[in-house]
């Protein structure tokens, strides 16, 4: 079968009525998550894993995995889009990847052009999503064919590269990011060792034998952490939104934003593929590029439509690009994709080069549904812009307790243990404290998800070499990955030494 056959099969899966419904719900919730300040894509996806797990409990394992990953991916790119709404109407970005959109978006809203700004954001997101998907389809097969030739040593080094890339770009201090990564990896070692069956760090507490549940930690750190932050900072007053006015962009608007959308899509996609560099970085870069390319750079920051179109296209393209390393290599490049990967592993589906062979239904179903989801996003958002603008006004004082209640419900529904609920609350406080003091959380989750795989590959490689660590340097692929990993950590440090400003990826 060739790619088109697989894609056709994927559409068969994605067009089943329940999967259409799931894509729709995902996009709808995702947009709301993006619109609501206080929950970003990461906490939104984490919060919905248990909810989807219970919704799909009646389906066979593989179909359940497909449906829930369709919904969760919908939340992911829906949130990417939704974040622009608050940036434009309120001047407060719904998530970090929409920070740049505020510069020109809010200015446009002040000039009474909020409608065109919002619709250009939707059109740009759609075009970028489409581009990213076509590129994903083209690249998925060849990449996974390369990846399938990797041995355990290559894999170990590749995953190390992924971790280093995320740590090197996350947050203000590399030391802190590395501490979080190592801590995540250590948390993953708690429980029964899968290779030897030895219990590690369990202290004879039966509940610890199965290890700490990824879901509990992710929901606690992200969702509860953010909620606790809003309570502590009294951040629950409703803002005033700008008037939207007419929605459709004029012909001139469309003409002015065609170039930025195209450039933003391409740039965003390639930045998205790189591990560690996510949507936030993509939107920043595309904004800078537009300013450089433009004939009127002085009009940026004063309501230039290109300043909305480019970053919004870039961040959506980046979220599509980020799916490539996740699906083909099994390496998530960001916090949100790490959470998606954790969700897949919960269903016993291992993302990676074998995914396209072993579970074509999941992989291609997801790709096809992302095409449909992007279309839904456009159809949904053009007419419903005003409804989502109303969602912003949801009083946070009702939202905060409900998010806590959903977290507790979700974790209990999947784990059915009081221990996990207590762990959830502890993680909530930890997440708040760490994030407040510039300890990035994404590397921790990444470490937690990749931990078991890194360890298994390391031990397999060492077993073949009789315990000789040089094997990682002798295999050419592995050596190359290790060198890149090292550079990824060292170069930012050197740049900082020389007093250069290093762009960091805050979140996402």
């Amino acid at each position: 079968m060739n790619v088109l056959d697989y894609l056709a099969d994927g559409f068969m899966t994605a067009l089943q009525w329940h999967n259409l419904l799931f894509a729709f719900i995902g996009v709808l919730i995702g947009t709301s998550v993006g619109v609501l300040p206080g929950i970003g894509p990461m906490s939104g996806v984490a919060l919905l894993i248990p909810v989807t797990a219970s919704m799909t409990s009646g389906l066979p394992a593989e179909a359940a995995a497909t449906s829930s990953i369709i919904l969760l991916a919908g939340v992911y790119y829906g949130a990417m889009y939704g974040g622009s709404t608050t940036s434009i109407l309120l001047n407060t970005p719904g998530e970090s990847s929409s920070v740049v959109t505020t510069l020109d978006g809010y200015q446009m809203a002040k000039q009474g052009r909020a409608g065109p700004a919002l619709s250009i954001a939707a059109i740009g997101s759609f075009a970028a999503g489409l581009f990213a998907l076509v590129a994903l389809i083209a690249l998925a097969e060849p990449l996974s064919n390369v990846a399938i030739k990797f041995g355990p040593a290559d894999y170990f080094s590749l995953m190390l590269l992924g971790l280093c890339a995320v740590s090197g770009l996350a947050g203000k201090s590399i030391t802190k990011a590395l501490i979080m990564t190592v801590f995540g990896l250590l948390l993953a070692t708690i429980g029964m060792d899968t290779v030897s069956g030895v219990a590690r760090f369990t202290f004879d507490i039966p509940i610890l034998y199965s290890g700490l549940e990824f879901l509990t930690i992710a929901v606690g750190l992200f969702a509860l952490g953010e909620v606790f932050k809003s309570i502590l900072e009294r951040d629950y007053a409703a803002g005033r939104t700008s008037k939207i006015g007419h929605i459709l962009p004029t012909r001139k608007d469309l003409k002015d934003s065609a170039g930025p959308i195209a450039r933003g899509s391409i740039l965003g996609f390639f930045i998205g593929i790189l591990p560690g560099a996510g949507a936030t970085l993509a939107s920043f870069f595309s904004y800078i590029v537009e300013k450089k390319v433009s004939k009127h750079p002085e009009s940026f920051g004063k309501g230039n439509i290109a300043g909305v179109a480019a970053p919004e296209s870039a961040n959506n393209a980046a979220s599509g690009g980020a799916m490539i390393p996740l699906l083909t290599l099994g390496i998530p490049g960001s916090g949100t994709t790490a959470i998606l990967m954790g969700a897949l592993i919960m269903y016993n589906i291992q993302p990676g080069p074998l995914l396209f062979e072993e579970h074509p239904q999941v992989a291609w179903g997801l790709i096809a549904s992302m095409l449909i989801g992007n279309l839904l996003l456009l159809v949904l958002n053009m007419p419903l812009v005003k409804v989502f603008a109303k969602v912003i006004q949801t009083p946070a004082k009702y939202l905060i307790p409900i998010i806590i209640a959903i977290s507790i419900f979700g974790v209990y529904a999947v784990q059915a243990q009081i221990f996990d609920l207590v762990l959830l609350l502890i993680c909530g406080i930890t997440g708040f404290l760490l994030a407040r003091n510039d300890f990035p959380l994404a590397p921790l989750v990444l470490g937690l998800v990749l931990g078991p795989m890194i360890e298994n590959n390391m031990r397999r490689a060492l077993t073949t070499s009789n315990g000789d660590f040089m094997i990682f340097l002798q295999k050419p692929m592995s050596l190359a990955f290790l060198i890149i990993a090292l550079l990824w950590i060292v170069v930012p440090i050197l740049l900082k030494r020389r007093g250069k400003e290093v762009v960091v990826n805050e979140e996402g």
């Binding site: 501490i179 009702y398 806590i404 507790i408 209990y412 031990r459 060492l462």
Partner: protein
């Protein structure tokens, strides 16, 4: 505040790193058919964490003291809601989902803003009842709805 936190955090991570190294030394060193036991990976990580936390401690010492610009945090409301959430989580199985969720939400709504009792009660009841009906009745999940000592 940042500096002090970093210093304490580095000490906590240092202890954690040493603890993991110490505990992994107790794990049997070899696994059947392999020279690489289950202890190497955690031991190496523990070592890395120890070294990194020493580095963080050093960085925190070296960093210039930042002025205390942190806004006042609302500890009172936070602890009230956190305590309520803890009690709710801890007694969830005992008190049942519907009553527990209703009480927790009502308490939290009122903590964040006094008044509008009718609206608070309505939203709490709708949420707790709605989730229960969808999850248990429609999706046939298992969740203790009412306390077992009531029925």
């Amino acid at each position: 505040m940042n500096r002090t936190f970093d210093r304490y955090a580095s000490i906590v991570f240092l202890l954690l790193g040493i603890g993991f190294m110490w505990q992994s030394a107790k794990i049997s060193a070899s696994a059947y058919g392999s020279t690489v036991g289950p202890n190497i990976f955690p031991f190496g990580l523990g070592l890395a964490l120890t070294l990194l936390s020493i580095r963080l401690f050093y960085e925190a010492l070296k960093a210039k003291p930042t002025e205390n610009h942190a806004e006042k945090l609302d500890y009172k409301r936070f602890f009230m809601i956190f305590a309520a959430a803890f009690l709710y989580a801890y007694f969830l199985e005992f008190i049942g989902y519907i009553i527990g969720t209703f009480l927790f939400l009502l308490f939290a709504f009122q903590t964040l803003e006094r008044g509008k009792w009718l609206k608070s009660i309505l939203i709490s009841a709708l949420f707790s009842g709605g989730v229960y009906v969808i999850f248990v009745v429609l999706l046939e999940g298992s969740m203790p709805g009412f306390p077992s000592w009531l029925s």
